[in-house]
Structure formats: structure tokens, C-alpha cells
Amino acid sequence: MKSSPPSDSEQLHIVLRYELLKYLRGQRLFGILIITAFIAWLMLALPPLLGRGYPSDVRTFPSTFLNFVSILIVLSATFFGSDAINSEFQGRTGYALFPSPIRRRIILLGKYVASALSSLLAVSLYYAIIIVSAQAIYGTLPDELILSYYLAVVYMLSILAFAFFLSSVMKGTTGSAVLTFFLLMMILPIIGIVLNSADIDPWFSITEAGGIVSRIVTMPPVMGERPGGFMQPTGAAASIPYPLYIPEVGSSLIVMVNYFMITLLAAIYVFERREL
């Protein structure tokens, strides 16, 4: 029996299917969807349960929800991306897969697309809940909510690529999961704050750029009227003694797309050279 290996795109589709099966069997996909639905339920149910009611302004309503989008994206990257590559080495499954007639970059891209689709499902579910709830409660939606969704998808793609890069570089799956989560949740935001306090634009930070996902709704003037740059905090944040860097849509998109391309290419480069 002499069959020729399928084309790269067909093989990518095969890897994608079996990777999705992994998420289903391993209950990762189910887990992230449960977390998404639970958080959304908490945000919807808690105000009435605590007797506080919903905000009167339709723009303030989704802003509460949108603060969780970045966390959801980081969680998805940790769930689906942080061990995607190094698990093949640590778990020795690569000994079965890598001697197959398939390019390593196709394995990586198949896994990446599977993780992107799974994360997209979680993010889309979350936005669907926000949109349906806002429509039901206020009968209208902030114009920027859909734009926020598109930006969240771009942010998700760049964060996943970043997680794949860490997974390609790091040996252990636990280490890469912990590093992905804490780097994106704590370390990079802290670096952003420190740079802010030193009057340095942290424009290059992916987490700063990702801030646009919620700010596009909560602070819409950054679109056009006020380009990205430093702003004196107002309202509840007025006590912060230094100006905050506020990203602008264009520059945020450029940073996110660059992170996506550079880290994904770097992940492929490292994976193709990594020895088992």
C-alpha cells in the first residue's frame, strides 16, 4: 500500500479535527465555556440579588462585563495554547506523531487553528450574553460593542500566538501554563504600570494594547478625537498621581497584529528546530 501524504492544507484540517477532539475529550472546551457562562451569570445575577440594580447608562452596563474579556482570553490561551507544543515533547507523543510525513509547521498551525476556534467560541458566547442582556434590559446597544468584539478576536489571536511561542520554547507544560497566565495577567500589566509612572509609553506591551477591547466602549473618545497617549485619570481613577497611557485603536491593532505575526513565526521557527 503506497499512499501519498495529503496536501499541507488537508493535513492541517486533520490535525485541527483531532486537536478539537482532544479539547472535547479532555473537557477543556467544556471547562472554558462553563467558566464563561458562570462569570456572565454572576455579572447578570449579582446586581439584582444584592439589590443594586443595573446601571442606568447602556454604555456603563457592558463596561462591567468587558473587564473580564481580557481575563477570559488569557484563560483560553492558558487552556488551549500553553501546552500545545511542549506536551508533544514532555508527554513523548511526538515519538508517534513526528515520524509521520507531515511538516512540523502544519502540526503547529493545525493546533493553533483548533485553539483559536475553541477560544473564539468562548469569547463569542460571552459577547452574545452581553449583547442579548443589553438588548433585553435597555433595548439598545452601544455602537462600539461590535467593534470591541472584533478587537477582542484580534487580541485573542495575538495572545494565543504568544502562548504558542512560550509552549515552543519551554520544556515543561506546567511551567509554560503558569508563565503564560502570570505573564499576561500580572507581570506585563505591572511593567505597564511601572512604565506609566515613569512617563514612558508602554505602547509595545500586548496587554496594554489589549486594553482597547474594553476602553473602546468605556472611553470611546480615544477613537479619533483623542489619539493614543497619556491622559490625566478622571473619575474613580483621579487619585492616580500620574497620567495613564491610553491606547488608540490603530496603534493597538498594529501592536496586536505584530505580536500575532512575530510570535507565531517564532513559535514555528523554534518548533521546527526543537529536538526530541
Binding site: Y18, T93, A96, P99, P101, L276
Partner: protein, 312 residues
């Protein structure tokens, strides 16, 4: 005609450590080659380069004339491999795992189901075909590894210690499978640390030591190279000290060890005629023998001699 497996000046270095030193090999089609050598000789390194798991520092490896490093997809298309004891995705069943790997190789759904049944039967995993691999023992995973390497009926099989982790029955079954592959004209490249296994299954042997190819020849030629044999003699009554002294002075006897009162292990150098003479001399000395048999394999003798020379 292109040799199915060729390596040219293959060299692999880990920092300053030379794992493989200009290895030149040509394995003809239909040959079952036993790849032997002590631990750290470079056997697995060679197999990993041939299966694109690692890249050589310099030199080339070709499968069916295609450079493995520059075009692994084409080079590995007609190759089945078992490298170390691989793990499989624990959430998949053997049938699903074989489907995955079969699809990646371009097999149709019908071919995959037909061949999966056949290979799982060959490795005695039929009743486990739909159970998650996560619950399998090491031996079962080794059987699964062999099944996936046979799935697409490749022309070349690269097997890294294929009987590792198997019980004696499993080892026997795997050897029988390899013999069948040989009969079908497949090219088998098999590393093993079991010399008896290589002698039983393979027709050619490559001996590697410290990354260098020491010898590559047919087993029958190599067996003739070995002149030192170990002979185990069992006696009805323990030989006396005087008898032992006499035995030590016989022509060709290098050493005599009394492993138990009635069992002697004689290291002997000589051909078959000399061995017959030794047998007669022992009888003449009054040793009441219940058995007189060479132990170990011819290949073992050759192996130890060559490795000892290589160390010198």
C-alpha cells in the same frame, strides 16, 4: 537502484560530545539490519536523525533517495517507525489513533479500517481497539507503537528496540512479525541490545561504538570471526582440584570458572574440531559430564571481541 537507507558522513554533536562520528551506511532493499552497540554508541541518535526527530550537525541521511532533513514529508512517506517507547494521546483509542496517523498518510477510510483490524490483530490488541490508550500498560503501548508502524504497509521499517518493555511471549510475537516482514521483502532497520534477537531476526549487522561504525557485515560472516566461546559443562560429580588443574592446561582453554560445585564455565578459543577435542579430553580425564554446551551466541563472542578492541 537506490538503497532504501543511506547515511553519508552523518555526524551529530551535543556541545563538545560526539554522539555520531561520520557514519556511512548503505542498507540494501529487503535487508533486515540489526543495529547494535553498547549504551551511548549512537544507535538511537541515528534512528532519530532518520526519522526527522533531530537534525544532524553535518552529513546527510536519505530514505528512498530523499534527504530526510530537507524534505522529511516526502522522505518519511513510505516509512514506518517505532522510536523508543512512544506515548499516544491518552484520550484516543487505538482505532482512533490509527485513523489519525492513517489520515495524515493519505489512507482512505476503508483502508484505515481494514488495516487497523489487521495490525491490531497482529499485535494482539483487537479486544482493546476501542478502549482509551491512557489505560494501557507499557507493553501494550509498545504493541500499539508497532501497530502504527505497520499500518500503511511501508517499504521501510525503522525500529528502535521493538521488543523493549514486552514480556517473553510478546517479544517472541514481535520477532515473528519482523521475520514475516523480511519474508515480504521489506527493509528493516532495527536497533537492539539483545544480540540473540539480532542473530535470530536479522541477516546483516552494523556494530556501532562511540558514534563510529565498527563493522557492517552479514551475520554468517561475523559469526565466523568469533573464535572465543564460552562452554558450560555440567558434571554428575563435582570435579576435583586436580581435574580442574588439568582442564586449565588443555589447549585453547583461557579460563575455567566453577559457578557451582558441578558446573564449570570454560572460556575456550578454537574452532569446532578443537571443541570436540576438549570434549574428549574431559571424558578422558574422568569428568562425568551430563552436558557440554556452548553458551551465548556467536554474535555475542564477536561483539565482545570487537568492542574490546575498539576500547583499546
Amino acid at each position: 537502484m537506490t538503497c532504501p537507507i543511506v547515511t553519508e558522513n552523518l555526524r551529530k554533536m551535543y556541545n563538545s560530545f560526539v554522539a555520531l562520528d561520520n557514519l556511512n551506511l548503505k542498507v540494501e532493499g529487503g535487508v533486515c539490519l540489526g543495529f547494535l552497540g553498547p549504551n551511548g554508541a549512537g544507535k538511537t541518535t541515528t534512528i532519530k536523525i532518520l526519522t526527522a526527530l533531530i537534525k544532524p550537525t553535518s552529513g546527510k541521511a536519505y530514505l528512498n533517495g530523499i534527504d530526510v532533513t530537507s524534505d522529511p514529508k516526502a522522505a518519511l512517506s513510505d516509512v514506518g517507525a517505532v522510536v523508543e517507547t512512544p506515548e499516544f494521546y491518552p484520550y484516543l483509542t487505538p482505532n482512533e489513533m490509527l485513523s489519525y496517523l492513517g489520515e495524515l498518510r493519505g489512507m482512505s477510510g476503508n483502508e484505515i479500517s481494514e488495516r487497523s483490524m489487521k495490525v491490531l490483530d497482529e499485535v494482539k490488541l483487537t479486544e482493546w481497539a476501542d478502549k482509551p490508550i491512557g489505560s494501557f500498560s507499557r507493553g501494550m503501548k509498545q504493541r500499539m507503537a508497532l501497530a502504527q508502524s505497520l499500518l500503511h504497509e511501508p517499504a521501510i521499517l525503522i525500529l528502535d528496540e521493538p521488543t523493549s518493555g514486552l514480556d517473553p511471549r510478546g517479544m517472541h510475537e514481535v520477532r515473528e512479525i519482523i521475520k514475516t516482514l523480511k519474508e515480504k521483502g521489506k527493509t528493516v532497520f532495527m536497533s537492539s541490545h539483545l544480540l540473540s534477537e539480532a542473530q535470530e531476526v536479522c541477516d546483516t549487522v552494523a556494530l556501532l561504538d562511540r558514534g563510529r561504525l565498527i563493522v557492517l557485515d552479514k551475520i554468517e560472516n561475523l559469526s565466523k570471526m568469533s573464535t572465543v566461546k564460552k562452554i558450560e559443562v555440567r558434571a554428575l560429580v563435582a570435579p576435583t582440584d586436580s581435574q580442574l588443574d588439568h582442564i586449565r592446561r588443555f589447549t585453547g582453554v583461557r579460563s575455567v570458572k566453577q559457578t557451582s560445585p558441578q558446573v564449570l564455565l570454560i572460556e575456550f578459543e578454537g574452532d569446532e574440531d578443537s571443541m570436540a577435542e576438549l570434549h574428549n579430553s574431559l571424558l578422558g580425564l574422568g569428568v562425568k559430564m551430563t552436558s557440554f554446551k556452548p553458551t551465548g551466541t556467536d554474535l555475542e563472542g564477536m561483539y565482545l571481541e570487537i568492542i574490546a578492541e575498539s576500547v583499546r
